[in-house]
């Protein structure tokens, strides 16, 4: 018999345990898990509302290990990143994070992510969609090494007003000088941790990244230190509420990557999405630059706008009308914002609505009231993102809020 004919392992189906799984499972009384990029990610541990309020009032832990992560290292790392994203990476100093988007040749957005500049010649890119091949295509011919780090790095978001106080209790003196988007290399429980003052909540908060073998030790140290300051593990539902308030967009929810859409007219450019502030033309050629220059001169055909809706029922999946009759768009994300006490949403509106025409816009909300459906037309007001702004997010040194 051919000795090579031994069974090779078949890949497992479904969601795999992420690095912090055991800790989260111990608190997950609802047994609620979602599949995030192949990993089991908690939807809600006990009550989404109380987990949400912990983000705005105390502090929270959320496992971000399933994010796609890439390492770009080598003498040309800056040139490659600058060729890929629409911001000017040359202005990003080592030890800083920036929020970036990158586009295809037509100027449509491929994905967004956070770019960590670890040194002159090394970057880490965290994003939602697999991008290994995209980055490698861009890097062709450059002196740079691109590797996938998704499984080599564990991480969690530590977000909320009492996070700085907790890190202070852990004697992390680096936080005193960290401004938003700063990175420091620190040690917690004797383990190496990359900490950045970033997050998806619009509140005071940090993201901590470490080797998977050190993950539990770091988590346990932070969780123990946070006990006196109300730390709570949270699930995706709570985070989703905070991210809408914070004005952040979610790929596949608010827009779709131009690399995954089947219907050609679904791709969206930064001017339509409202991310034009991330686009600069004051730098050498980058992917999509020519198309973006052309698009910058014309009015967008449609726009993703932040809206406020009258009354208190969230406008989930609602259609938007002009003068209550003409359909002009739809809602992507909606929330009754418990902190701002406003009924908020993002909506795509066809031009000129939401741009020149902002009056007499309505959403059609369907409410199920004990079996029966009711239809409500509520007023739409175009407003600015973000919905939630708090000075504690940016104050340096951070206070014990």
């Amino acid at each position: 018999m051919n000795k090579a004919l031994t069974p090779r392992p078949q890949m497992p189906m479904g969601a795999l345990p992420a690095p912090f799984h055991d800790r989260i499972a111990a608190e997950n009384v609802q047994h609620s898990w979602m599949n995030w990029n192949g990993y089991a990610s908690p939807g809600v541990l006990d009550t989404a509302e109380f987990e949400y309020f912990a983000i705005r009032n105390q502090s929270t832990l959320f496992d971000i290990s399933p994010m796609c992560k890439f390492r770009i290292k080598g003498p040309d790392a800056e040139a490659v990143m600058n060729r890929m994203v629409t911001r000017d990476v040359r202005r990003q100093k080592p030890g800083r994070v920036s929020y970036v988007i990158w586009c295809d040749e037509d100027g449509n957005v491929v994905d967004d992510g956070t770019l960590f500049r670890r040194s002159e010649d090394e970057f880490l890119l965290f994003c939602q969609e697999p991008q290994l091949l995209w980055i490698k295509d861009i890097a062709w011919g450059f002196d740079v090494e691109v590797t996938e780090a998704t499984h080599d790095l564990a991480g969690f978001a530590f977000q909320g007003p009492t996070t700085a106080a907790t890190l202070r209790d852990l004697k992390i003196k680096e936080i005193e000088t960290m401004r938003p988007f700063d990175i420091r290399d620190i040690k917690i429980a004797g383990k190496k941790v990359m900490i950045s003052r970033t997050g998806f909540t619009g509140d005071l908060g940090y993201e901590l990244v470490m080797a998977p073998k050190d993950a539990l030790a770091v988590w346990d140290a932070v969780y123990a230190a946070g006990q006196l300051r109300g730390v709570r593990i949270i699930g995706y539902e709570a985070l989703e509420m905070a991210r809408i308030e914070a004005g952040f967009l979610l790929p596949r929810v608010d827009f779709i990557s131009s690399q995954t859409n089947l219907r050609v007219n679904r791709a969206r450019n930064p001017f339509e999405i409202g991310l034009d502030w991330l686009v600069t033309f004051d730098k050498p050629h980058y992917n999509g630059k020519r198309a973006l220059q052309r698009l910058a001169g014309v009015a967008p055909k449609r726009k993703l706008v932040a809206i406020e809706v009258s009354k208190d029922k969230a406008a989930h999946h609602a259609l938007v009308y002009h003068r209550k009759t003409r359909e002009v768009g739809f809602v992507t994300s909606a929330l009754w914002s418990a902190t701002t006490k406003r009924n908020i949403a993002y909506a795509w509106l066809e031009a000129p609505f939401g741009q020149e025409v902002k009056d007499d816009l309505w959403v059609e909300i369907y409410l199920q009231r004990e079996i029966e459906w009711q239809r409500r037309m509520e007023r739409v007001m175009i407003v600015e993102r973000p919905f939630f702004v708090h000075p504690r997010r940016t104050v340096t040194p951070p206070l014990n809020f």
């Binding site: 006990d46 009550t47 509302e49 109380f50 309020f53 705005r56 009032n57 105390q58 007003p161 009492t162 106080a165 209790d169 006196l228 300051r229 109300g230 406020e308 809706v309 009258s310 009354k311 208190d312 009754w336 418990a338 902190t339 701002t340 006490k341 406003r342 009924n343 007023r379 007001m381 939630f388 809020f401």
Partner: protein, 534 residues
């Protein structure tokens, strides 16, 4: 100095009215007798490192429309809900009320297997009454004797809602509004412990016992609140209840309003039957054609208005309006988290409202003491340690306990509320809690004791009644505070009321303030701007 409008009293209702008037473009002044704003929604640091919610202590009734329209979150207001609560009995058992439906059902079954279903029926009955009354909160109560088209249409609105209930529900509603909370609960619940836990909301702030008619409605008043659409839920205002009025004051000042603290009103200045301004205790005078009083109806018209300016029947109505303070308050700084041996370690319900009672009889006895001019020997307490959730009110690891105590009479049979009596009152309360939490006493770092007389003196609430007058059916809707004057206007032209003495009554709700603003603006030919909340 001449203003468009002057508001007397910087409590939450006064500041709500002020906020809406300033946003409507009126040059508005708020005057306040204390050196700080807040009224009964106030947070003070009496022990370094600790912030108390000195009077009101939990938040639910504050109308979301007001929070939104006055943009209070932008000015620092954050309302944080809490999850559950419990009543401990003297035999070592407890009943844990939980907002989680599954946990609540299991706990009800543990206490009495029939009560899980009984509670569902009870909750439905209360929710139906809530749904009926809630839309009336943010509306001006109609005058049933008026032929004004607006009154008639409002009466028709209420009448139609009532008629739509159907015959059986109409009867239920009338019973509900007039019944005692104990008898109401007897219809649904078997367990004494569960019953007495639920009965607390029926007597809070009221000079009535659990078997007194009308207490079922008082319970309803406490259920009408919501935190983000979760009806009946209660929460903390981050940083204490004073954060509410601080945010209101900032919102008002940002809209161009002016606040003067440190001197209260001496007299409303009235000329030819019309208010023209206010004279303060320090001698200052300020003038405006519109003056709104946030003080209760007795202070406003008996103490600070010349009687000759008022019609006799109105004065009679004001004088018979009942206050009857029935509660006191302890605020305690704790060196650590007290333990409750009857509760499992890290019990979540310790984060909510805790009570210590065996049954309805104990509650009724507590009321008997009050009738005889004594504080209850075994009082009802609403005990919370908000610092388990709110990290801002005490140093980490230290805690703040807010203890609402009922019953405590305004006038004591054995003398006055002097230091000895206040200390003895506090001892009664602390001893009772210590029977359930033996280490509680030794953790006390500082305490503030507030009798009804203290509440009257400091906050200005007559007889220390937390609602600016009892919330019984005879003093509600078009009878609040005086028949014929339930629409925020007074017999004196230009002088309005915006306090909890007016419809729909007390609790940190803001609805009287917002309704009063609407009426003031209506008289000036303007409209209240509720923005997107409308």
């Amino acid at each position: 100095m001449k203003y468009d409008a002057i508001i007397v009293g910087a409590g939450h209702n006064g500041l709500t009215t002020a906020g809406f008037l300033a946003r409507a473009g009126l040059k508005t002044l708020v005057i306040e007798k204390n050196d700080y704003v807040g009224g009964a929604a106030v947070s003070r640091e009496l022990q370094p490192g600790w912030t108390y919610s000195n009077c009101s202590y939990v938040c639910s009734l504050l109308r979301p429309e007001i929070i939104r329209a006055l943009e209070l979150p932008k000015y620092g207001l954050q309302v944080i809900p809490y999850e559950s609560g419990a009543t401990f009995d003297s035999k070592g058992n407890y009943f844990n009320y939980s907002s989680d439906h599954d946990a609540l059902r299991r706990e009800l079954i543990r206490n009495n297997p029939e009560d899980a279903d009984g509670y569902e029926r009870y909750a439905r009955a209360v929710m139906r009454q809530c749904k009926f009354i809630k839309p009336l909160l943010m509306r001006t109560a109609p005058d049933p004797t008026s032929f004004n088209p607006r009154d008639i249409s409002e009466l028709l609105y209420i009448g139609k809602r009532f008629y739509d209930l159907g015959e059986r529900e109409m009867a239920e509603t009338v019973r509900f509004w007039t019944m005692s909370i104990a008898e109401f609960l007897d219809q649904y619940i078997k367990s004494d412990l569960v019953k007495v836990h639920l009965a607390g909301s029926g007597i809070i702030g009221t000079g009535l016992g659990p078997y007194s008619p009308g207490t079922a409605y008082v319970l309803l008043h406490h259920y009408m609140g919501e935190v983000d659409g979760s009806i009946g839920a209660w929460g903390f205002s981050r940083g204490g209840m004073g954060s509410i009025t601080k945010a209101m004051a900032l919102s008002f000042q940002d809209a161009g309003g002016e606040i003067r603290t440190g001197s209260g009103i001496d007299q409303f200045i009235v000329k030819n039957g019309r208010v023209v301004g206010v004279a303060l205790e320090n001698g200052d005078e300020f003038y405006a054609d519109t003056v709104v009083s946030g003080m209760d109806v007795r202070r406003t018209f008996i103490e600070h208005t010349e009687q000759k300016e008022l019609p006799e029947d109105f004065v009679k109505g004001v004088k018979r309006y009942r206050f009857r303070g029935s509660s006191g308050k302890l605020n305690i700084a704790l060196d650590g988290m007290p333990t409750f041996p009857a509760a499992p370690k890290d019990a979540r319900f310790l984060k909510g409202d805790l009570h210590f009672l065996d049954g309805m009889e104990e509650l009724e006895r507590a009321y008997d003491d009050w009738k005889e001019g004594r504080w209850s020997a075994s009082p009802y307490v609403d005990f919370l340690i908000p610092t388990q959730i709110d990290p801002t009110m005490a140093p980490p690891g230290k805690h703040y306990a807010t203890i609402f105590v009922q019953y405590a009479p305004y006038e004591l049979a054995n003398g006055t509320w002097d230091d000895a009596n206040r200390e003895a009152f506090a001892k009664t309360v602390i001893d009772k809690i210590s029977r359930h939490s033996p280490d509680f006493k030794n953790l006390i770092v500082h305490k503030e004791v507030r009798s009804p007389a203290d509440i009257e003196r400091e906050v200005g609430l007559t007889e220390g009644n937390i609602f600016q007058g009892e919330l019984t059916f005879d003093q509600l809707l078009f009878n609040r505070p005086v028949p014929g004057y339930a629409q925020y206007r007074s017999p004196i032209k230009g002088l309005y009321m915006c306090g909890s003495s007016s419809h729909p009554g007390g609790g940190v709700m803001g609805a009287p303030g917002a309704n009063a603003a609407r009426e003031v603006l209506l008289d000036l030919g303007k409209k209240i701007d509720l923005g997107a909340a409308a």
